[in-house]
Symmetry: C2
Subunit: 216 residues, 2 copies
Amino acid sequence: MYTLTTYRSVPSFAIGFVRDLRVRWALEEAGLPYQLRLIEFDERHSPAYRQQQPFGQVPMLQDGDLSLFESGAILLHLGEKTPALLLDAPAARAHVHTWMFAALNTVEPHVLNLVSLLAFSSGEAWAKERRPALEETVLQRLRDLDAWLEGREYLAGGFSAADILMVTVLRLLGATDHVARFPHLKAYLDRCTARAAFKKALADQLALYAPKVANA
Amino acid sequence: MYTLTTYRSVPSFAIGFVRDLRVRWALEEAGLPYQLRLIEFDERHSPAYRQQQPFGQVPMLQDGDLSLFESGAILLHLGEKTPALLLDAPAARAHVHTWMFAALNTVEPHVLNLVSLLAFSSGEAWAKERRPALEETVLQRLRDLDAWLEGREYLAGGFSAADILMVTVLRLLGATDHVARFPHLKAYLDRCTARAAFKKALADQLALYAPKVANA
């Protein structure tokens, strides 16, 4: 049985976007059962938690004696246990690896820079000056992805762990119309988020947090 | 024989920091011979190159029929061919994966935000306003790393691919004194960059680019 660590509650802007979603989705694709270990949001700063997760982030995954963090590393680990993430197939694995790192190192940092600015700083003077450059970098990445996805259903052949990472990155842009400008990318995002495993994973995250918002 | 794709020449600020350094270092640690395939800097935008590397970046690695990009994915691939990167050892592999993603997704984006600001925008109004927050985020990550490295020689047990990635990220801060504020981190950086394989890899990158600077 896997144990997934995440927050007991989160600020409302984070609901539906907490990174445990990536691990939940992967576990659902693989049909692997798991239990939750819930920590308080402020507990991420505690010395005890930092011993397990030096940067005070979620998710973490425990598999017996093995304790892992970083969503990319957790998906690599799960990919060894199941064919569902395409990481057990030697021919495909290197390509899946490539696109996993592309999602997390080439695309996500730029998306997060823009999304954080829009969410937390859009009224500040520096943000007004800086926003066009951040937006152009994101649009260039989306343009590159759109070109790659022309004629392709998924990033690396069949559906894989790379799609889980890329789609959860692209979803962060939901408050903008940026993805919708690119037809292949938009179709890809819709195709992936229509999967039963994604819907189950998202519903489970929302079910954990949503009642607390209603009662807040 | 591996073929490593990188630029024939680069702007002077990039010399010693082009990401092919990560792959060169890994190949040197493993004692694996390789040849270079050099492309012009502007060729990264060409349709032919985008077919191979959708984002127009380096490095790429060819291993027979397999063509890979993303430095993290290339190191994973090389790690299957050699014990030198600790990726062939089941017990250590999951921890090395964790720290590879930590270097590229948790640390590097913040370091690059700060370093890019300092290198390209420090005179701009937005940069003066934004710099303290970027600096504090970087310092927090360095503080977390310093705590982790107390009593440890390397991130994940023995020297591994994760150290290659983290050290090449930390080196980007060379123009600041940030790393030097953290004694365990500074000792770690010095320990890793004292390795013969790092020195050879860096010397080879400098030898490729430096004469062109002198003649420019």
